[in-house]
């Protein structure tokens, strides 16, 4: 039988057993209660306890068996595993029914089980983080066994082409060896991020100042969700917009000034990414500026400062940690952004300071390395994980710094809604 058929059969049988447990448990509890013996829990609670004691251990045995099969490679036939779990379920059913006694605290028992289920669910988020970390670190280590870490960090040539032949055992004498120097990739990433920030920080911050300090309430309630729409547009759509609409405009404008721009220039994805990031900065900055205490504004105005001077010399300096924190979050978002650069930036690793040339980024190379028809073991595929590791480290530290800054702001002004 197929595995999924077996699985369906298992689930079906378990469901039936559960139903039996529920009705048997309840019937027995009702009988005991109707005979006049006072009980510590309601019949339904005994019934649910029977269900839990039937299904819980069985599912646990099945899951543990599955893990043992995958992790240790032990060959347990699926059929025996599922049959074993069903036997456990039957035993659990009998124990559950036997526990329907007047002195048994069924409600407390259920409470304990539920608490464990909730803890397990909460731990999954930790497993996810560790899963990401392990998968990336593990594969990256395999990459660094093939190529030196130092060369990866400091090399200025990214030329993975030959690793494909090497993996196939056809590395020819004299053919250039594969080179994995990530500097051009990071240069491209930082260039595009910098352009994005040049767009997003002024526009986002000034919009936040307007919304928080000048705008009438009606404008504010309308403008904020409208700006958030910018963040809700899928990145693949922005990528198409950058490649089809913005890039040709940039080429035309550059041509007007007598400059030669590539259609895969870094300016188009940079600008579009900046537009996408505006709401990240404006929304958080707006919240921060709003939580600067009004007494500071009143004090400043009372001393005869104009509204503009109050904003520049009092409100913004007070809100600075929050604004920096918002900008750092935005930088981390821009560094990890993938679709816009995959669609609009170039594929060629190019170490240059001219944003009108085509250049590639870390995320583009990750996608390129993992979507080809390469063996998973090849150095190029594994290089994606090495790049991912660096990306993970950089974004994680940016986030942590950002969280620390916002916490300091919060403590200073005793704000609770941030």
């Amino acid at each position: 039988m197929q595995t999924d058929q077996l699985l369906a059969l298992f689930c079906g049988t378990l469901l039936v057993l559960g139903l039996i447990a529920f009705f048997l448990g309840r019937a027995k509890a009702m009988k005991v209660r109707n005979s006049g013996t006072p009980m510590t829990a309601q019949p339904d609670q005994y019934a649910w306890f029977s269900v839990l004691s039937t299904a819980g251990p069985a599912i646990l045995v099945g899951a543990v068996g599955g893990f043992v099969m995958l992790l240790l490679g032990a060959e347990i036939p699926t059929f025996y595993l599922l049959a074993g779990s069903l036997v456990v379920a039957a035993v659990g059913l009998m124990i559950g029914i036997a526990q329907v006694r007047p002195d048994f605290h069924a409600r407390k028992a259920i409470e304990r089980v539920i608490r464990w289920i909730l803890v397990t669910a909460a731990l999954i988020s930790i497993f996810t983080t560790f899963g990401i970390l392990f998968s990336i670190v593990f594969e990256a280590l395999r990459f660094f066994q093939m190529h030196s870490f130092w060369e990866f960090i400091t090399g200025t040539v990214w030329n993975p082409g030959a690793s494909f032949l090497a993996a196939a055992g056809r590395a020819e004498e004299g053919a250039s060896a594969a080179q994995f120097g990530s500097v051009p990739l990071f240069a491209g990433t930082f260039m595009i991020t910098a352009i994005a920030m040049l767009v997003a920080i002024p526009v986002g911050l000034l919009s936040a100042i307007y919304m928080a300090e000048f705008a009438p309430k009606r404008v504010r309630t309308l403008a904020k969700p409208t700006l958030e729409v910018l963040a809700g547009i899928p990145t693949v759509v922005y990528g198409f917009f950058a490649a089809i609409t913005v890039a040709p405009i940039i080429v035309d404008v550059a041509g007007f000034f007598g400059l030669d721009a590539s259609f895969n220039n870094a300016v188009a994805p940079g600008i579009v990414m900046g537009i996408m990031i505006i709401p990240f900065i404006s929304s958080l900055s707006d919240d921060v500026i709003n939580s600067v205490p009004d007494s500071m504004r009143q004090g400043s105005l009372a001393l005869g400062m104009t509204q503009g001077e109050t904003i520049r010399d009092v409100v913004i300096p007070a809100a600075l940690p929050g604004i920096i924190s918002a900008s750092l979050l935005a930088v981390s978002r821009a560094l990890g952004e993938t679709m816009i650069v995959v669609m609009a930036a170039g594929m060629r690793p190019n170490l240059t300071a001219n944003p009108l040339e085509d250049m590639t980024t870390v995320t583009v190379r990750i996608v390129a390395a993992l979507t080809g028809d390469l063996e998973f073991e090849s150095a190029e595929t594994l290089s994606a994980f090495a790049l991912g590791l660096v990306l993970f480290a950089v974004t994680l530290s940016l986030n942590l710094v950002s969280v620390l800054m916002i916490r300091r702001f919060r403590e200073k002004y005793r704000v609770t809604n941030l």
């Binding site: 409470e111 988020s125 000034l206 705008a215 990528g239 990890g336």
Partner: protein, 388 residues
């Protein structure tokens, strides 16, 4: 050195002018951001709306002997070049399935070739002079016209622009999101309930909290790496399927749902919990019967927003292989499928000009669904929000 009052009032004027300037500049920044939004939508509409119309041509189909070998023979040679090749390929198949058709004729509206379509819409095309003349004549006769493009909604991907549609991708999106929801919603709600209602304030709880906030800020592409290395290579989940896509997206959606659920749970006033405890409920009974039902609208809103986010996500899905060429609707959760954003990505990479229009059309559909989802979330919040 003292200043005269004139000097001071001049200075004051300057300062006020500077203040006003800040107001106008900041207003301009907000306007600029709004302008971006308007330009973006206008551009997408201009590029995408033509995709909902498609040139169709009325032809006489003559089911003769030759047509059972080569579909083109069934058509008048003058128009056969103008008809979509996908239609011509279907004629021999039709004849094989239904031999009675042999020897009959039929007049029908069929899909025109994408070059004809592009010519009619005034875009760049590859039609020769004589073909253009034929097309113009057919239009004048009323045998060739732009009609509503049903193919776009009823077929999957194709290498011919005129025959490609979004159905396979739309079904794939629904299947993927079902998997995402089935995993992320229960786990997310349970995590939030644990953190808000059950957890003691200890180290473990703090670590879980920091973790969730970090997860929300990790670049999406790294979730794709996790899916590839752990789900596919380690657990052997089949590649390119709604199952793996949904699992990967579920991990991304999890923090969104957790954070929204926690906010919703926190907004339920403590007096309700006290009252329930007071009549002797256990902790789980309080949560199940009193707190969760009151927090449900907030949880739903957060989940819908999380789903909308997952729906537009492309990068991690590319990594787990969901960009394959999928012409048919996927029959199960463990067979190759594609999703709307991935379909948009594939079309954007096609060299033919006619696909630009398809891409923008797909984008319009995607944006419409996202706007609908977000509007639903806002409505839910408005309708059920309670201030205590």
């Amino acid at each position: 050195m003292s200043q005269s009052f004139d000097d001071i009032s001049a200075q004051l004027k300057r300062r006020h002018r500077k203040s006003a300037r800040l107001k106008w500049i900041s207003m301009g920044a907000l306007g600029l951001a709004g302008l971006f939004l308007v330009l973006f939508f206008a551009d997408m509409l201009v590029k995408g709306l033509p995709a909902f119309q498609q040139a169709q041509i009325q032809v006489e189909i003559d089911y003769n002997e030759d047509a059972s070998r080569m579909g083109r023979a069934a058509l008048d040679p003058e128009v056969s070049r103008l008809v979509s090749r996908t239609f011509e390929r279907m004629i021999p198949v039709q004849l094989r399935n239904n031999p009675d058709l042999l020897g009959t004729t039929e007049t029908r509206w069929v899909l025109a070739d994408s070059e004809v379509d592009q010519y009619l819409k005034g875009n760049r095309h590859k039609l020769s002079e004589s073909q253009q003349a034929t097309v113009d004549r057919l239009v004048a006769q009323g045998d060739l016209a732009l009609k509503f493009n049903t193919t776009f909604f009823t077929s999957g991907d194709s290498k011919m622009p005129e025959a490609s549609g979004i159905l396979a991708a739309a079904v794939g999106t629904v299947m993927t999101l079902l998997v995402t929801l089935a995993i992320a919603f229960p786990i997310g709600v349970m995590t939030a309930v644990y953190l808000e209602e059950f957890a003691p304030d200890n180290r473990l709880t703090q670590i879980i909290e920091i973790n969730i906030n970090n997860l929300a800020a990790i670049p999406s592409i790294l979730f794709g790496l996790l899916g590839l290395a752990i789900f596919i290579n380690f657990f052997g989940v089949p590649r390119s399927t709604p199952l793996i896509g949904g699992m990967t997206l579920a991990l991304m959606t999890l923090p969104v749902i957790i954070i929204a659920t926690r906010t919703a749970l926190r907004s339920v006033p403590d007096s309700i919990r006290h009252a329930a405890f007071g009549v002797g409920c256990s902790r789980w009974q309080v949560v199940r019967d009193h707190v969760l039902p009151l927090a449900m609208p907030g949880i739903m809103t957060g989940s819908i927003i999380g789903l909308a986010q997952a729906m537009g996500e492309t990068a991690p899905l590319i990594i787990v292989g969901m960009v394959a060429f999928i012409p048919d609707v996927s029959p199960s959760f463990t067979e190759a499928a594609t999703v709307l954003p991935a379909q948009i990505f594939t079309w954007a990479g096609e060299p033919e000009k006619a696909f630009v229009e398809k891409t923008a059309g797909g984008i319009l559909v995607l944006l419409a669904i996202l706007i609908f989802l977000n509007a639903t979330a806002v409505m839910l919040r408005k309708k059920f929000e309670r201030r205590w």
